[in-house]
């Protein structure tokens, strides 16, 4: 009898913890964005077609909370803002849009860095000059929208 009680007790605790993990109340967002920068570009002239009018934003997304996902990025500096990644396949670099968003692991971090994941700015409306800052809106599946300032770094440091 005593054993059964203990068993029920343990079961109860397990169910309670699993339910609370599934939410009801949203987990407090533990996202911190660090190491943010965009590459300079002086290519926004009207004479240009698509060539060169693009740039990339990099950052580290640190997460103290539950797993989340970066699903969208938007900005007013470019015609389109997309999530992209680069992979080496058979010695060839392939850039592709990220389908379904960028996973942000629980109590971990994901790094958007040169040669890998990045926010791509396509069709810049304005030059990105070193020292300038512009705003980027990031939409996360759980944490919602965060707006961050992005400093522009020179092409060559």
């Amino acid at each position: 009898m005593k054993r059964k009680l203990i068993l029920f007790g343990v079961l109860g605790i397990l169910i309670a913890t699993s339910l609370s993990a599934c939410g009801g109340t949203p987990a407090p967002t533990g996202l911190r964005i660090t190491d943010v920068w965009a590459r300079a570009s002086a290519m926004s002239t009207d004479a240009m077609e698509m060539g060169g009018k693009n740039s990339a934003v990099y950052m580290k997304i640190n997460n103290d909370g539950a797993a989340d996902k970066l699903v969208q990025a938007t900005s007013t500096v470019a015609a389109s803002t997309e999530l992209h990644t680069v992979e080496m396949k058979d010695g060839v670099m392939q850039m592709r849009p990220v389908e379904g968003g960028i996973d942000v692991p629980a109590r971990g971090a994901v790094e958007l860095k040169p040669g890998g994941l990045h926010v791509m700015l396509i069709g810049l409306h304005q030059d990105l000059k070193p020292g300038d800052t512009f705003n980027l809106k990031l939409t996360f599946e759980k944490a919602g929208v965060m707006e961050i300032p992005v400093p522009v770094r020179a092409l060559v440091q």
Partner: protein
Amino acid sequence: MAWHSVGAMVLWFVCAAALGGCGAGGGGAPALHGGRLDPPKAAADFTLTDHHGNPFTLSGTRGKIVLLYFGYTACPDVCPLTMSDMAGARADLGADAQDVQIIFVTLDPERDTQAVLEKYVPAFDATNIGLRGTPQEIQTAAAAFGVKYQKKALQSSALGYALDHSAFIYVIDRRGQLRELLPFGTPRQAIADDLKILINEGTAS
């Protein structure tokens, strides 16, 4: 077709890398960082059009060390990163920088007009040379170096299409010999170190 020379180049690269790996433990003179061609092989020559609209022949750079790269300006990540590291390495050389010529060949002549190259290429280093040509001219030049590239339509992107491409830096010495292939991601410092080795070889030997 081009795949024959690509295969040969890959074989060269693998052999060179393997040999280079064995030789590196020997001590003595500092070694180049990339996949070395041992013995070096004369760099294929080509003539394309530079970002001012003038004809440009690769063999006209004899006497300078050439960092040759094939890419496209719509590329936001891999290409500017490599261009930046090459320009940074050159800048780190001080007065010796005058012995080094960085050349960017577009694989995307459709979007990379002369006007685009004129703005893009010197933005990294004022002495840079940007080259373009007809798709056929570019294909011939790229194939001669074993560059693999392919246009890839991206339905879900405003970019329209990307260029999948191999991203080596081809390092050519003052005598026009292809000496090594530096893989993507080679640090600026390593590029600068290799340039110093080739600069110190002088024009003789």
